[in-house]
């Protein structure tokens, strides 16, 4: 075989490996966590509380804390982020101030989560006296989610075709009527996708919640209760080597939750693409 063909085949091979490695890494990771964790997974693992010093038994309180805090964070962040995005995309005069807001959002998105945790601790736990609580953690997480939801919403609003807006204005709609009745509904699937992805990010967040909701295992009811998230539980079990099977079980459940968030987001995007033709 001549060298040109060999080189070509080699190049293609390397490209394949490079491109395939993403899938390979994800596959290996999920496979590993699955094998290590699937043994712990059972209904009683999900629905009972940890027992004793080695935290055997289930992880129910940590699941509740995780769902509680991310739901609360989502409820806090969604109205703020969506209104901010509507302002940026529809009302603000495009200029310096808007560029500054966008830059701030992008920078906020890149703040290391441990710094956000420390800041959340100083602001919500200490200064505002919310203590280690669901509320403090949800507020700190909402800072993390804000730029993601805001930017995806802004993009979604901008992607609504001009002629749809014209149709509304042409019928005698005011700007707000047009935004509320036409632009936002048309952008909604993409906005929801952004919210879901940001929520997935919050579910997997550890540093922020350690600093803001504490580490004690209890079933949070009021927003001012403390709690331990799944990620924190996993972190403590693993670093202190207390109970590795439970740690892997928690990791697997966490990944299943985040994966299903991503799948839901994909489903919404696809269904919407089909509907709008």
């Amino acid at each position: 075989m001549d060298t040109k063909r060999v080189t070509n085949a080699l190049a293609l091979g390397f490209l394949w490996v490079a491109a395939g490695s993403t899938v390979l890494i994800l596959g290996t990771l999920i496979g590993y966590v699955f094998i290590k964790g699937v043994g712990s997974l059972s209904l009683s693992f999900i629905f009972t509380a940890p027992q004793g010093v080695k935290a055997e038994g289930g992880i129910w309180p940590t699941i509740v804390a995780t769902v509680y805090v991310t739901t609360l964070a989502m409820l806090i962040v969604t109205p703020v982020a969506v209104l901010a995005a509507v302002y940026l995309a529809e009302y603000a005069v495009q200029g310096r101030a808007v560029r500054l807001i966008r830059f701030a959002a992008d920078t906020l998105a890149s703040v290391p989560s441990i710094v956000m945790g420390l800041f959340g601790f100083a602001l919500f736990v200490e200064a505002m006296h919310f203590g280690f609580s669901m509320l403090s953690a949800a507020l700190a997480l909402s800072f993390l989610m804000l730029p993601i939801v805001m930017r995806t919403t802004e993009e979604a609003i901008r992607a609504v075709p001009k002629y749809i807006r014209w149709g509304s204005y042409g019928l005698g709609a005011t700007k707000w009527q047009t935004v509320r009745r036409t632009v936002l509904p048309a952008a909604m699937p993409r906005i929801i996708t952004g919210i879901i992805l940001a929520t997935g990010r919050a579910v997997g967040e550890t540093a922020v919640v350690i600093y803001t909701m504490g580490t004690s295992i209890n079933l949070p009811l009021s927003p001012l209760d403390t709690g331990r998230s799944m990620t924190t539980h996993l972190y403590i079990l693993a670093t202190e080597g207390i109970n590795l099977p439970t740690a892997y079980g928690t990791a697997l459940l966490l990944m299943i939750m985040i994966l299903s968030f991503n799948l839901i987001a994909r489903y919404i995007v696809r269904r919407n693409r089909r509907m709008q033709g």
Binding site: P161, Y163, I164, W166, G167, S168, Y169, G170, L171, G172, A173, T174, Q177, R181, T182, P185, A186, M275, Q276, G277
Partner: protein, 271 residues
């Protein structure tokens, strides 16, 4: 420099003027797009605007419902009277104006919602809430737009699922639902199939009994078929403002145009 008509032709024996434009100049930033346009639009008639691409006929059309206000940096001078009241007078809210002067766009643009909600959109904006009242308006408007028979069993289905021609008639129904006095049509047939074009042309003939219609079209045969009056616009040099060259009864403009440039255009010598 393009010389144009600067005085309105007097067709007052045909009926009253619904819209009356006098000395209209239009600017996009530093660029003057239209110069010194004076024309009367007859009530309950179809008036066609023809001319080559870029001659400002769509820009002029958007002056009647102030859609140009949505484009930053535009400026209008001169008068546009709707029933003798200047639509550019201070205190006129374009939102109220657009309810009286509806618009159909080149690209059918149903909202991403059901057929019913598309038609009910305008009435709801203006405060109609009762279901029975909305039902009546939706049915009437779809009937008037000649699309009721095709959609009456699928009112809950998405407007975007209809064919292009049905979508355009849905958009017409949506405009009729707010009971406008004038309907502006910006090349309404250029993005749809021939059968639907026929339906929309027939529709215009029916609608003019109750509405004043202005249609911008690239298609001279269409202008000749559907309109009672025709206005010919032309921008002779790039970068120069377009002007109204000739305005007349459609039959006369197409058979014995007074201006050489109109004759050249309608006989296909340019454009």
């Amino acid at each position: 420099m393009t010389e144009g008509l600067t005085a309105a032709q007097d067709f007052s024996t045909d009926g009253p003027a619904k819209l009356s434009v006098a000395g209209l100049d239009f600017h996009y930033g530093d660029f003057q797009a239209l110069a010194d346009i004076t024309v009367d639009i007859r009530e309950n008639a179809v008036t066609a605007f023809i001319g080559p691409s870029g001659c400002g006929k769509s820009t002029f059309l958007r002056c009647f419902n102030r859609m140009n206000d949505l484009i930053p940096g535009t400026k209008v001078e001169g008068k546009v009277l709707l029933d003798d009241a200047d639509v550019y007078a201070p205190g006129v809210d374009p939102v109220d104006l657009r309810r009286r002067v509806g618009m159909i766009f080149q690209q059918p643009n149903p909202f991403p919602m059901s057929i019913y909600d598309n038609v009910a959109y305008g009435p709801r904006l203006h405060g109609v809430k009762k279901k029975a009242e909305l039902d009546r308006i939706v049915q009437e408007s779809l009937e008037r737009a000649n699309v009721w028979k095709e959609v009456k069993d699928i009112l809950g289905r998405g407007g975007l699922k209809l064919s292009g021609g049905q979508q355009q008639r849905l958009c017409i129904a949506r405009v009729l639902a707010v009971q406008p006095e004038v309907v502006l049509m910006d090349e309404p047939c250029s993005a749809i199939d021939p059968t639907s074009v026929q339906k929309i042309e027939d529709l215009m003939a029916e609608l003019k009994a109750n509405f004043t219609i202005i249609i911008v079209t690239h298609n001279m045969q269409q202008a000749a078929r559907v309109s009672d009056y025709t206005a010919f616009f032309l921008q002779e040099e790039a970068g120069e403002a377009a002007r109204l060259i000739e305005f007349d009864r459609t039959g006369i403009l197409f058979t014995s145009p007074k201006d050489k440039r109109t004759e050249d255009y309608i006989t296909g010598r340019f454009g």
